[in-house]
């Protein structure tokens, strides 16, 4: 890999991707983006990012693969159990006072977070009154989320998370197994709308009582974080909830004053 001028080449590549494919990665965190692109270039056998750009522009199979690298699809059911316990014990009782609830899960990846909420809301008797908007920029991930099938070997860890998150029954009550996979009960997604939506380029589409956006903002630079948090503040009803990833905070954002802390350690905020 030739690293001279690599920052310049990255800017040009991201500009090219935006112009040609309308995915806007131009304001993602620089350090992680650089690592990902340098490694991807290596994997594609390119000596420079410019060489990768050439392939991204002219070989139709390259961009979808690169998109896979640029959108890190790591997720778990009930990731950070204490977060979901706080949602169950502290947030849901307040949501239950609304006649109907809209929940926006932004950056839902392959759906683990969606099923976590659906199960939790069902057990709390709120799912039938809820609409979940599950959005992401990666269409294959959305398709997998909609299918709702996860590898069997992930289930023991998911079950443990579920229990630690205050699960009321057994996780296996919510799925059936077969063909090496666990298929979640389709009624869990009867109230879910899956949609392609980018926090970088799209606008608010509904008023919601809660936004859950976990481990997505860490991809973004400050300016793009501000944009995303502005969308959330605009989408939330007054006193609506915002849940972030366990190491994310609104504190360093220009939008910070639009939120108040609700659960400091679990990173749950309310719209001011």
């Amino acid at each position: 890999m030739i690293t001279q001028d690599v920052d310049l080449e990255i800017r040009l590549l991201l500009e090219a991707i935006f112009e040609k494919y309308h995915y806007d990665f131009r304001r993602y965190g620089g350090a992680s983006m650089k690592r990902r692109l340098v490694r991807a270039a290596g994997r594609f056998g390119c000596r420079t990012i410019s060489a990768l750009q050439e392939r991204v522009l002219h070989e139709p199979t390259v961009f979808p693969q690169l998109l896979e690298d640029l959108t890190i699809q790591v997720s778990d059911l009930f990731r950070d159990p204490s977060y979901f316990r706080a949602v169950r014990e502290r947030v849901v009782p307040i949501l239950a006072t609304y006649p109907s609830v809209k929940l926006w899960i932004a950056g839902c990846a392959t759906g683990e977070e969606v099923y976590s909420y659906a199960i939790l809301l069902r057990e709390e008797g709120l799912l039938e009154r809820t609409i979940i908007y599950a959005t992401d920029i990666h269409p294959p991930a959305l398709a997998r989320a909609e299918a709702g099938v996860f590898a069997l070997e992930r289930m023991p860890a998911f079950s443990e998370n579920y229990q630690r998150a205050g699960g009321k029954a057994s996780l296996s009550d919510h799925y059936v197994t077969g063909y090496g996979g666990a298929a979640f009960d389709r009624s869990l997604r009867a109230r879910v709308v899956f949609a392609d939506h980018s926090l970088a380029t799209d606008e608010v589409f509904a008023e919601v009582q809660m936004v859950s956006c976990r481990n997505v903002l860490i991809y973004f630079d400050r300016a793009l974080q501000d944009r995303a948090l502005r969308l959330f503040a605009d989408a939330l009803c007054p006193m609506g909830f915002l849940g972030l990833g366990s190491r994310e905070t609104v504190r360093f954002s220009a939008e910070a004053r639009r939120f108040t802390e609700f659960d400091r350690s679990e990173r749950i905020y309310r719209r001011a």
Binding site: G29, G30, A31, S32, K34, R35, R36, I72, V74, N215, L217, I218, Y219, D221, R222, Q225, S246, R247, E248, T249, R251, F252, S253
Partner: protein, 193 residues
């Protein structure tokens, strides 16, 4: 003779012992930010800041996304996130794939620091049982920074320092007590390289 602007350190097995020999000597008001990655098994990772903080005059905190790398503060990588530093001096976390089977890993921290601070980086690879950190320290060296490796003879697990010695051609190979003295001297009035 570039001014050092940031200290980045990493290790795995045996690194806590080394850090407990080094960090407590850094005086309150230490003029550089210190960023630390230690591989630890799941549950223990969350204890790291507490363990180090209890013995150190500096504030030891778990790194938060977009927080500023602050002089006189030790920022440790939280469990299950890589820690990186951006060119504007803010910290970044990522859930990208593990590196050398580890998240957090040392290479992303050292490489990003080399990128962001070039010759202003002091990189330290401590005791550890994988080859993580070697590529990162090599990047620090290439960028003109100062590469320090714990003397493998003093390391509980010499694998990591040995890999860094092979790959990064460090300027200094030191026992923890000497690393401590060196880092303390960086905070003195006459900062010397």
């Amino acid at each position: 003779m570039a001014e050092p602007r940031i200290v980045v350190m990493g290790g795995s097995a045996g690194a806590i012992e080394a850090l407990l020999e080094i960090l407590p000597a850094l005086p309150a008001g230490y003029p550089l930010p210190v960023l630390v990655v230690v591989h630890l098994p799941g549950g223990q990772q969350s204890m790291l800041a507490e363990v180090l903080g209890a013995r150190t005059p500096l504030a030891v905190i778990e790194a938060e996304d977009k927080a500023r790398a602050t002089p006189g503060t030790v920022h440790v990588a939280p469990p299950d996130y890589h820690l990186l530093v951006e060119a504007d001096g803010t910290l970044a976390l990522s859930v990208d794939a593990p590196v050398h089977h580890s998240r957090p890993a040392i290479d992303p921290l050292l490489e990003s620091a080399a990128d962001a601070y070039a010759e202003g980086v002091v990189g330290v690879v401590l005791s550890g049982a994988s080859a993580d950190g070697a590529a990162g320290l090599a990047a620090v060296r290439r960028a003109g920074g100062l590469a320090i490796v714990q003397d493998p003879a003093t390391a509980w697990s010499p694998h990591m320092p040995e890999a860094a010695l092979r790959e990064a051609d460090p300027q200094l190979v030191l026992a923890p007590a000497a690393i401590r003295a060196y880092l303390v001297s960086l905070g003195g009035t006459e900062v010397r390289r």
